[in-house]
């Protein structure tokens, strides 16, 4: 396929988007994932109108650890808060953390990958060495060491951009430690893209390196970035849940992981209170499974040559 025969036409682009959507939505996994995701996004968008304000130990509405009933659809936790209420509010916090962390991770990963691939040489060697470090060290382990230190330095009070500091720190730390995978893929794609004629043409016209990277190479990388972005979200949810479970979350803005931590500390498992620990866990499972399914479907749609796990 040579570039000279393919003319830009708006109709061609619309058709391309349409055929992409058809193919993407043809995956059973993608459909299921999207449906779940939309459901949780609605929960996250309007928790107050759906289940009322976040309950605390002060305005809790039920008895301690009541099994699910008509009044409390998912039962209550160890201080009498309605689990449904907590879980819906947790959706907002968990999803915000995961999505913001993913944005950071994609921005860092893409910048590092493009720069390394485009400039090559010594820049490439050093950036990739850095990437290798973050690639082999699990994001969770790095975050486990960095988060408490940063919290100690910044303190836990107040809030930053509407987040409690501990959540803000978790977002940044997850974002800054989970970009290596994206950087590797972006770099390898950039290596092949920069040899194409359209890059030469842009250079002949006099475009600067930055312009070539942002306007010519980046758009061609978007499919890969999108597919991996979905997987990064799943990873971010996992890391966030685990960190919060170990007590690094914030009890005033409880995510699903924090709820699990509270359930664990209250001995919900040995008390047989399956609803208290089941509800947040099922949410984590569903959301991250949705993102994995969507990511796989995107990957499958974008590279038809690769056979992907369903």
């Amino acid at each position: 396929m040579s570039e000279s025969t393919v003319r830009y036409s708006p109709r061609g682009r619309t058709r391309a988007i349409k055929s992409f959507l058809c193919q993407f939505l043809g995956h059973g996994g993608a459909q299921a994932g999207l449906v779940c995701l939309v459901f949780f996004l609605v929960l996250a968008a309007a928790p107050n109108t759906l289940v009322g304000p976040l309950q605390t130990a002060i305005n809790a509405t039920g008895d301690f650890l009541v099994p699910p009933s008509g009044e409390h659809l998912l039962g209550t936790d160890e201080v009498g808060r309605d689990v449904l209420n907590l879980v819906v509010h947790g959706a907002r916090i968990s999803l915000t953390i995961a999505l913001l962390a993913t944005v950071i991770s994609l921005v860092v990963g893409t910048s590092v990958g493009i720069t390394a691939g485009y400039y090559g040489g010594r820049v490439d060697v050093w950036l990739m060495r850095l990437t290798d470090f973050f690639f082999v060290m699990p994001s969770f382990v790095l975050a486990l060491v960095i988060t408490p230190v940063v919290l100690e330095v910044m303190g836990r009070g107040g809030d930053i951009l509407g987040f409690r500091p501990s959540l803000f720190v978790i977002i940044v730390v997850i974002g800054m430690t989970s970009w290596a995978f994206v950087a590797r893929i972006v770099r390898s794609q950039t290596l092949s893209l920069k040899e194409r004629t359209f890059v030469d043409r842009a250079r002949v016209v006099g475009s600067s390196n930055i312009v070539i990277m942002v306007k010519h190479i980046l758009p061609n990388l978007l499919p890969q970035i999108a597919a991996n972005g979905a997987l990064v979200v799943a990873g971010a949810i996992y890391v966030e849940t685990s960190l919060s479970f170990l007590g690094l979350g914030d009890p005033l803005q409880p995510s699903w992981g924090t709820l699990l931590a509270l359930a664990q500390r209250a001995g919900a498992a040995s008390a047989g209170a399956w609803w208290d620990l089941g509800a947040p866990g099922v949410c984590v499972l569903t959301v991250s499974l949705s993102f994995v399914l969507i990511g796989n479907a995107l990957d499958d749609t974008f590279n038809p040559r690769r056979r992907v796990i369903p």
Partner: protein, 311 residues
């Protein structure tokens, strides 16, 4: 290289924390301490010397000799001792879970990839994707609810029953019974992952030209599987297993927290809650080291499996 970066990151993180050991040991600002005393402390800890290169070099050489500093929480015990004491429990947990997961996960995955589209493939792949997306510690909590609280079959807490005498056969059985649920939790999460990768590897291999050749030669299914498909499909799986070690231990940390398992994970949680940074950093270093070793092992295993690498 990775280890050096871990060590340097450790060093930087440790210096970022406000306050230094001297003020901590002297009881903070609440008790009146003369500036001379602080200065003497600072000198004895070597904090009066320039940060770079003196302190960095000191730190690195001490770390090389296995001196990881002293714990805050455990009354100044050596971090290296603390970690060594807890290590066997984690090695038992992670090792056993790995073996089970490799046996079950890889076999199931390879089979699912071999018989793509079959009933077993659909069930296995669906289940393993779900397991793959589930945090291992939550599986652990569910296992406790089901097998410990509801059914009462297995203990869901600690490593020993109270009053168990060390060394006897009963003691060992008791230990294994306590080990069962944590191992199951870690292994289930891993099985999900291994199935996904082994299946993808196998389905790549099945469509290769040499498989068509093998069939054309008249080999039976079993011969094709054992002679041609298995070794090739194992390549990516071996890489994953080795690279995965860090993630396995990370997962084990949270699982240990659920079961109050007296391993590195339990130590991490205690250190985290007490803000015991030397211990946290020791664990971090240990993880870094084991990940580096795992990578090395992966390279060696690759050489054994793939003759092309050996040359």
């Amino acid at each position: 290289m990775t280890l050096l970066m871990v060590a340097i990151l450790n060093f930087i993180l440790f210096r970022v924390i406000p306050g230094d050991p001297s003020s901590l040991l002297l009881g903070g600002a609440r008790i009146s301490v003369t500036p001379e005393q602080i200065e003497a402390q600072r000198q004895s800890w070597g904090l009066d010397r320039p940060m770079f290169p003196d302190q960095v070099v000191d730190y690195l050489s001490a770390t090389m000799q296995g001196d990881l500093g002293y714990s805050f929480k455990f009354r100044g015990r050596r971090v290296a001792d603390l970690i060594l004491e807890r290590l066997p429990a984690t090695v038992a947990l992670v090792g056993l879970a790995q073996v089970i997961a490799i046996l079950c996960g890889v076999m199931l995955g390879l089979y699912a990839g071999w018989r793509r589209g079959g009933a077993i493939d659909h069930i296995t792949t669906g289940t393993s994707l779900a397991l793959y997306s589930t945090p291992a510690f939550w599986l652990g909590m569910l296992l406790v609810v089901i097998f410990s609280t509801a059914l009462g079959w297995l203990p869901g807490y600690g490593a020993h029953s109270p009053g168990a005498v060390s060394g006897s056969l009963d003691w060992l059985l008791d230990y294994l019974r306590h080990l069962a649920l944590p191992v199951a939790a870690v292994a289930l999460g891993l099985i999900g992952q291994y199935v996904v990768v082994a299946r993808a590897a196998m389905s790549d291999v099945v469509t290769e030209d040499y498989m068509v050749t093998a069939r054309a030669k008249g080999l039976t299914n079993g011969q094709m599987l054992m002679r041609h498909a298995f070794r090739n499909a194992m390549l990516p799986v071996v890489t994953l297993i080795a690279l995965n070690l860090g993630y396995v231990v990370a997962g084990a940390i949270t699982v240990e927290a659920v079961f109050a398992w007296p391993g590195i994970g339990g130590l991490t949680v205690e250190a985290l809650n007490a803000r015991d940074y030397p211990v946290l950093q020791g664990i971090f270093l240990l993880l870094g080291a084991s990940i580096v070793v795992a990578n090395l092992v992966a390279d060696l295993a690759y050489g054994l499996l793939d003759p092309r690498v050996r040359q």
